[in-house]
């Protein structure tokens, strides 16, 4: 077998749907029927998962470290809120796409700032952009509602037929559907030749450039796509909570997002979704124990994860499922090992 065939074979094998993935999505849908009283928190988890996929696209696949991803979330959130409040686009799905596009435009414009420089410059620039937007939103409080946020957002039925109910049932299925669709697109992107070239860039930008990958254009493209995803997540936030306030831009939101991705593992897309579930559960547990000081324990989790080492931690977590598969299936385990953390 020649080398190109070999690469193509492996890439295609990775791109095939694994049965565990199908089980994952069935479980996600099934949770709606198992916990019918917990729609609000489940919506929150799904939304956070989508947001984390967005960060995974640039961090896990392209290797861009960002501390200001909340900027795009915020633009999407305010975009959807303003569109609904002023009745410009009444239909939620269209408004969702429009808000996402708004964030994508911002992502495209700022990507030229972000792709320059090393990690540290990127951290500072992304953080600076998010803070800048927060300051702007505070400055133009006549548009954004200032610290009170946008209030009185009323949403029309989705596609003209599904009304948002007060238990959040419609909101949950809506969020899940949007996230699933966006996930399919993301999955297609990362398994395409484009996605493979991104991984090449992450592993070694110089070599990627040497074999003819247009590094900067690829980074601009994926950064814009990720901004679109974050914008859609933000718009979902506004549409399902009927609220948009200044904290959509906050540093804590970007930092929490990092934690979500670290818990789940980056570079295989499911990391964000799994991380979102674990993160919200941890948050719930900590805030029942200490309502005011849960942040301490979240911080402690972060420190422990880093000290133990992310790669080692994932080996421990995946040890049991891999063992079960090896025993039952009698073949080499193939539960998604986050290749971003491979030593």
């Amino acid at each position: 077998m020649t080398a190109p065939d070999d690469v193509g074979f492996h890439a295609r094998r990775h791109a095939r749907w694994h049965w565990a993935e199908i089980v994952f999505w069935i479980a996600a849908l099934g949770s709606a029927f198992i916990f019918p009283s917990r729609y609000l928190i489940m919506t929150d988890i799904v939304r956070l998962g989508l947001f984390a996929i967005s960060l995974d696209l640039i961090l896990g696949y392209a290797g861009i470290v960002s501390l200001g991803h909340a900027a795009f979330f915020g633009v999407g959130a305010y975009g959807a809120g303003l569109l609904a409040l002023h009745g410009i686009i009444d239909e939620p799905v269209l408004a969702l796409v429009a808000a996402g596009l708004g964030a994508a435009v911002l992502g495209f414009l700022t990507s030229f700032l972000v792709i320059r420089g090393v990690d540290l410059t990127r951290l500072m620039v992304t953080l600076g952009i998010a803070l800048l937007l927060e300051a702007l939103a505070e400055r133009y409080s006549d548009i954004t509602g200032g610290t009170d946020g946008l209030q009185g957002i009323e949403l029309q039925p989705i596609l003209g037929s599904f009304t948002f109910d007060m238990f959040g049932k419609t909101g949950f299925f809506y969020s899940l559907a949007v996230t699933f669709l966006m996930f399919l697109v993301a999955r297609r992107i990362v398994h395409s030749p484009f996605g493979l070239s991104l991984r090449a860039i992450r592993n070694n930008p110089l070599r990627a450039a040497a074999i003819g990958v247009p590094v900067n254009r690829r980074l601009v493209a994926i950064y814009t796509v990720a901004a679109f995803y974050a914008g859609v997540a933000g718009a979902l936030f506004t549409q399902t909570t009927a609220l948009a306030s200044l904290d959509v831009f906050s540093f804590e939101r970007s930092a929490d997002l990092m934690l979500v991705l670290v818990i789940g593992g980056s570079g295989y897309l499911y990391g964000g979704l799994i991380g979102a579930v674990v993160f919200r559960m941890l948050q719930e547990i900590f805030s029942t124990i200490t309502p005011q000081y849960w942040q301490f324990w979240i911080g402690a989790v972060l420190v422990v994860i880093v000290m133990v080492g992310r790669a080692r931690l994932h080996r421990w977590v995946l040890w049991l499922p891999n063992l079960v598969i090896t025993q039952l299936g009698g073949r080499k385990a193939a539960v998604a090992v986050p290749d971003g953390d491979a030593p």
Partner: protein, 289 residues
């Protein structure tokens, strides 16, 4: 005209304070290449130690300041030995995550111990009020800040440039391998420098209670300012961060005074422009490290 001079004076005091707060970070981030977002936590620790000593135990303010330095330095040394030193060789992402975790922990811990309201330190009456020099209002407290911070800056420059420890530190930073080959105990030098930087931050935290405001969210609120000082100032010398903090201090005070609504906006824009224009800082080395 006098208002301009008073603003300039306040700006200089503010900038000097920022320098003392951030110069420890200039060493860890700029020289040791460790992204430590938790630097403000050490400043906060120093500030709170001073506040407790002065307000509750009745210590005089000038005795509280050295204790703020010592406690923050000890805390820094302990954490460096226990946690930080394992992360020097890790990726920037790991360092960022770790230090964000520390920030979250410190915010919640201080909130738990002292409550979330702003803390003031009781000042001796010598430091209150202001006096006029040719019609320019000079705040006594700010004058003291300028004196203390100016002396510290001169001292730091002397230590770095003239002493044996300074040359060891510079050697260890330039090329750790070669330095340890020459018999310099590089981890020890780093640990000492880290602790010293934390101590300075603690002292700055105690001084800043009156000017910047001290509450549990201090590390988050001023994180970006410290980072600006270091990234804009560059890391090749101590003068870069010093000039950057003066600029930042003056610009921030002037911005708040003349265009109160655009204040933070101006600073973030300037930072982004400078970083794009010169990724290694205004006064930094031209080649990427």
């Amino acid at each position: 005209m006098t208002a301009v001079l008073t603003n300039l004076f306040d700006g200089v005091a503010y900038g000097m304070l920022l320098f003392v707060l951030a110069c420890g970070l200039a060493v860890t981030l700029g020289l040791m290449n460790f992204v430590n977002l938790a630097h403000g936590a050490f400043a906060m620790a120093g500030g709170y130690v001073c506040a407790v000593l002065v307000n509750q135990m009745g210590w005089p303010f000038f005795a509280g300041l050295p204790l703020a330095f010592i406690s923050a330095a000890v805390l820094g040394a302990v954490l460096e030995r226990l946690l930080y030193r394992h992360l020097y060789t890790r990726s920037h992402l790991d360092q960022v995550l770790f230090s964000i975790g520390l920030v979250f922990m410190s915010v919640a811990a201080v909130d738990y111990i002292t409550g979330s309201s702003r803390v003031f330190i009781n000042l001796p009456s010598v430091l209150e009020g202001q006096f006029d020099v040719f019609g320019v209002g000079i705040g006594r407290y700010r004058l003291m800040i300028i004196v203390i911070c100016g002396l510290l800056t001169a001292l730091l420059q002397l230590i770095l440039a003239r002493t044996r420890f300074g040359s060891r530190l510079r050697a260890a930073v330039d090329d750790p391998r070669a330095a340890s080959g020459l018999g310099i105990n590089v981890p020890q030098v780093f640990a000492f420098t880290f602790a010293f930087g934390c101590g300075l931050a603690g002292l700055g935290g105690a001084l800043s209670a009156e000017v910047l405001g001290l509450d549990p969210y201090f590390p988050l609120k001023f994180m970006i300012y410290f980072l600006i000082v270091v990234t804009v100032g560059g890391s090749s010398s101590i003068t870069g961060p010093f000039l950057a903090s003066l600029l930042l201090g003056i610009a921030d005070v002037a911005g708040k005074y003349y265009v109160p609504k655009m204040g933070p906006f101006v600073i973030y824009t300037v930072m982004i422009v400078i970083l794009i224009w010169r990724p290694n800082g205004l006064f930094g080395r031209t080649a990427a490290r």
